[in-house]
C-alpha cells in the first residue's frame, strides 16, 4: 500500500549510509566500554561482593573516595569558575600561556603530576616550606588526596565552563547591566543560568576523573587505610595479593561511578523539563 508508506517511514527512520555509519559507531563504542565491564562483573560472585562490602578496608576506601571527591569538586568549582571566566573573556598578557598551563595536567602522566606535587609540597619543597610555619604538612594526608584530584580533574571543569562562557551572547549580559544589575548580580541571574549545562558537564567530568584518580594520589598521598587509601589505590593493593577481591572492588567502584553519572544526568533532565 503506497499510502501507508510515508506514515511507516516517520515511525522508523530510513536507513541512509550516514545513519548506518552513525549507528555502527555507536554500537562499536558501546560495546567497547560495556564488554570489558560485563566481563568484570561476571568474574565476581555475589558472595565476593558481599564480603567486600562488609570489609572495613573497602568501606574506608569508599568513604575516603567519596569524601575527597566531593571536596575536590567543590574546590575545583570555587577556583575553576573565576579561572574559566578569565580564560574565556579576559584580555590580558599571558592569557594563551595560562590557557596552556591549565590544560597541562591533561597530558601529563598522573604519576609525573604526583611526583611534581610531592616535590613541591615536601618539607624541603617551596610550597612545603611556605606551609611549614602554619603547621600544615600536606604529603601523605587527606589534603594530598584532594590536591592530587584537583590537579588532574580541574582542567576538565575549567575547559567545559570556559567553552560554555564563550557561547554566551554578551549583549544579554549588557542589557542586564542596564537594568540596575551589578556585575555579580548579572553573573548570578543571567550568566550562570545560561551556562548551567556546561557547569553540570564540567562537574560530572571532573568528579568522574577525581573519583577514578590513581597515579598522582598514590605518589603524593600514599596508601594509608582510612586516610589516604581511595578505591583506586585499594584496588591496586588488593590486586597484588587477592585478585578476586580486587575484581569485587572494581565492580563496586564501577557501579558507584555509573550511579553518580546517571544521577547527575537525571538531575539535569529534571531541571530542563521542570
Amino acid at each position: 500500500m503506497s499510502a501507508a508508506a510515508p506514515g511507516a517511514r516517520t515511525l522508523l527512520p530510513r536507513l541512509t549510509p550516514v545513519r548506518l555509519a552513525v549507528a555502527l559507531a555507536c554500537a562499536v563504542a558501546a560495546a567497547f566500554v560495556a564488554i570489558p565491564l560485563i566481563v568484570l562483573v561476571t568474574h565476581t560472585s555475589p558472595g565476593a561482593l558481599r564480603a567486600a562490602l562488609t570489609d572495613p578496608v573497602v568501606l574506608d576506601a569508599l568513604r575516603v573516595s567519596l569524601v575527597t571527591t566531593a571536596v575536590s569538586v567543590a574546590v575545583v568549582v570555587l577556583v575553576g569558575t573565576p579561572l574559566a571566566t578569565a580564560l574565556a573573556r579576559g584580555r590580558f598578557p599571558g592569557r594563551a600561556v595560562l590557557d596552556a598551563l591549565v590544560g597541562l595536567p591533561l597530558v601529563l602522566p598522573p604519576v609525573v603530576a604526583g611526583l611534581a606535587l610531592l616535590l613541591a609540597f615536601s618539607p624541603g619543597g617551596p610550597l612545603g616550606q611556605a606551609l611549614r610555619p602554619l603547621g600544615v604538612h600536606v604529603p601523605l594526608t587527606e589534603s594530598a588526596v584532594v590536591l592530587a584530584q584537583c590537579f588532574v580533574a580541574g582542567p576538565f571543569y575549567v575547559y567545559a565552563v570556559a567553552a560554555g562562557l564563550s557561547g554566551v551572547d554578551r549583549s544579554i549580559e549588557e542589557v542586564a547591566g542596564t537594568l540596575r544589575a551589578g556585575p555579580w548580580h548579572v553573573f548570578r541571574t543571567v550568566t550562570l543560568p545560561l551556562i548551567r549545562p556546561a557547569v553540570v558537564y564540567g562537574v560530572v567530568l571532573s568528579g568522574a576523573r577525581a573519583l577514578g584518580e590513581f597515579g598522582a594520589t598514590i605518589t603524593v598521598a600514599g596508601n594509608l587505610q582510612g586516610r589516604t587509601q581511595t578505591m583506586p589505590t585499594a584496588i591496586y593493593v588488593a590486586f597484588e595479593r587477592d585478585p578476586d577481591g580486587a575484581v569485587a572492588l572494581a565492580v563496586i567502584l564501577a557501579v558507584v561511578s555509573f550511579a553518580l553519572l546517571l544521577g547527575v544526568r537525571g538531575l539535569r533532565l529534571a531541571r530542563a523539563t521542570g
Binding site: D169, S171, I172, E174, V175, A176, G177, T178, L179, R180, A181, G182, H185, T189, V190, P193, L194
Partner: protein, 359 residues
C-alpha cells in the same frame, strides 16, 4: 534638565566625536548610515562603552566626565535600553523579563508586583506573561523589551533601531504605539534609526551622524526639506539630484541632471546661478506615477521602469531606473491599481513648484 552629552570615543576604525542634547518629552533621533557611530554613541550614553574623553550629564547628574574621572557603571545610571532585536533573557518568561530590573533594584516585593503588572498591562503583554521568549513574534519581543526598559522609569531611554526587527506590516502599528508612548513619557529619549520615517514620526529633533561626526541637526521635517548634503537627503528619503543650472525663465529654472532636464523653482536662501552646478530636491511624496504619458500641468515628466519596491510600513517606496534614479512614495492601493512591480513601465511626473533648486 535633560541630557547634555559631548564626547569622543573610538570603536574599531570609527572615531566618534559628537555632541548631543535632549529634553524630556522631546525624543531625539540619531540618523546615519551603517558604521556612522550611532550605536557607539548610544552605548556610551548607556555606560556600555567608555568614551575617550568628554562629559555626559543627565538631569543635573554627571554620568561621565573624563576630566573629573567620573564614569558611572551602567547599573548606576537611571537608563533604559531597548537593544536591536530586543535581546530578551532566554531563560526567563515574559513576566520575569519585565520584572528583572525591579528585582535587581531590590524594590519591595509588593511594588515589584504592582509595577510589573502595570507594565504588562500597558504593553498588552498580560496574555503572554507566562510565555517563554523564544516563542514570541518580532512585535511581541519588541513590546517586552520596551516594557522591561521602561519599568524602572529611567530618566534616559535609549532605543537602538527599535523597529528594524519587525516586518513591514507590524512596523507601522508598532511605530504608532511607540510614538504615543514617547510623547507621554516625561523622560529623555534617544533613538537610533536609519529610516527617515521613524525619525519623522517618532522624534522632535534629529541628529545626522556621518563618520562619527554630526553633519546636520534640526527638526526631522526641516532636515527632509533642507538637507545640506546628499547623504542627509538620502537618509531623509529625499530625491537629491545633482546637475547644472542651464536655463532660467522667471522663477522657473532648468537643470540638466543625468538624462533628464528638470524644471524647478529656486531656493530663496541658496539660489543657483546659470551654468553652475546645482541640486534639485524633490519629495518622493510629490512625484506622481502614471501608466501612460500624463496630460496636465506637471512640467517634469519622465518615462522609466520600476527598479524596486520597498515596504517600510506605511506608503511604498518605489525606485525608478531613470537617470538619475527617482524615488517615489505611493500608497499600496495606488500601487496595486497601477500594477507596480519590478520591471513595470511607468511615467513619473511632478510640478516645477514641487522641486527646489539649490546652488
Amino acid at each position: 534638565m535633560g541630557l547634555a552629552a559631548s564626547l569622543a570615543a573610538h570603536a574599531g576604525t570609527l572615531q566618534l566625536d559628537a555632541a548631543l542634547s535632549a529634553e524630556p518629552g522631546r525624543p531625539v533621533a540619531l540618523i546615519g548610515a551603517n558604521a556612522a557611530g550611532k550605536t557607539t554613541l548610544l552605548r556610551c550614553l548607556a555606560g556600555l562603552h567608555t568614551p575617550d574623553r568628554g562629559r555626559i550629564d543627565v538631569d543635573g547628574e554627571v554620568w561621565f566626565d573624563s576630566e573629573r574621572r567620573i564614569d558611572r557603571p551602567a547599573h548606576r545610571r537611571a537608563v533604559g535600553v531597548v537593544p536591536q532585536q530586543g535581546v530578551l533573557f532566554p531563560h526567563l518568561d515574559v513576566e520575569q523579563n519585565v520584572a528583572y530590573g525591579l528585582r535587581a533594584a531590590r524594590l519591595p516585593r509588593a511594588e515589584q508586583h504592582r509595577r510589573t503588572g502595570d507594565a504588562l498591562e500597558r504593553y498588552g503583554l498580560v496574555p503572554l506573561a507566562g510565555r517563554r521568549t523564544e516563542a514570541l513574534s518580532g512585535g511581541e519581543r519588541q513590546r517586552v523589551a520596551l516594557a522591561r526598559a521602561t519599568v524602572l522609569d529611567p530618566t534616559l531611554l535609549l532605543l537602538d533601531e527599535p523597529l528594524s526587527a519587525l516586518d513591514a506590516a507590524s512596523r507601522a502599528t508598532v511605530r504608532g504605539s511607540l510614538r504615543d508612548l514617547l510623547r507621554e513619557r516625561s523622560a529623555c529619549t534617544v533613538l537610533v534609526t536609519h529610516d527617515a520615517r521613524d525619525a519623522l514620526e517618532l522624534a522632535a529633533h534629529a541628529v545626522v551622524l556621518e563618520d562619527g561626526h554630526v553633519v546636520q541637526e534640526g527638526a526631522p521635517a526641516e532636515l527632509a526639506q533642507r538637507p545640506r548634503s546628499a547623504p542627509v537627503a538620502a537618509l531623509m528619503g529625499q530625491n537629491w539630484l545633482p546637475g547644472t543650472a542651464s536655463d532660467r525663465d522667471g522663477e522657473v529654472w532648468t537643470v540638466r541632471t543625468g538624462a533628464l532636464e528638470l524644471r524647478a523653482v529656486a531656493d530663496p536662501q541658496e539660489p543657483p546661478s546659470l551654468g553652475r552646478p546645482a541640486y534639485v530636491l524633490v519629495d518622493p511624496r510629490d512625484v506622481t506615477l502614471h501608466r501612460e504619458h500624463p496630460e496636465g500641468s506637471a512640467q517634469n515628466v519622465a518615462q522609466a521602469r520600476v527598479a524596486g519596491v520597498v515596504d517600510v510600513g506605511g506608503p511604498l517606496r518605489v525606485t525608478l531606473d531613470s537617470d538619475p534614479a527617482l524615488v517615489v512614495e505611493i500608497t499600496a492601493r495606488a500601487a496595486a491599481q497601477l500594477g507596480i512591480a519590478t520591471g513595470a513601465p511607468v511615467w513619473a511626473s511632478f510640478k516645477a513648484t514641487a522641486a527646489r533648486v539649490f546652488a
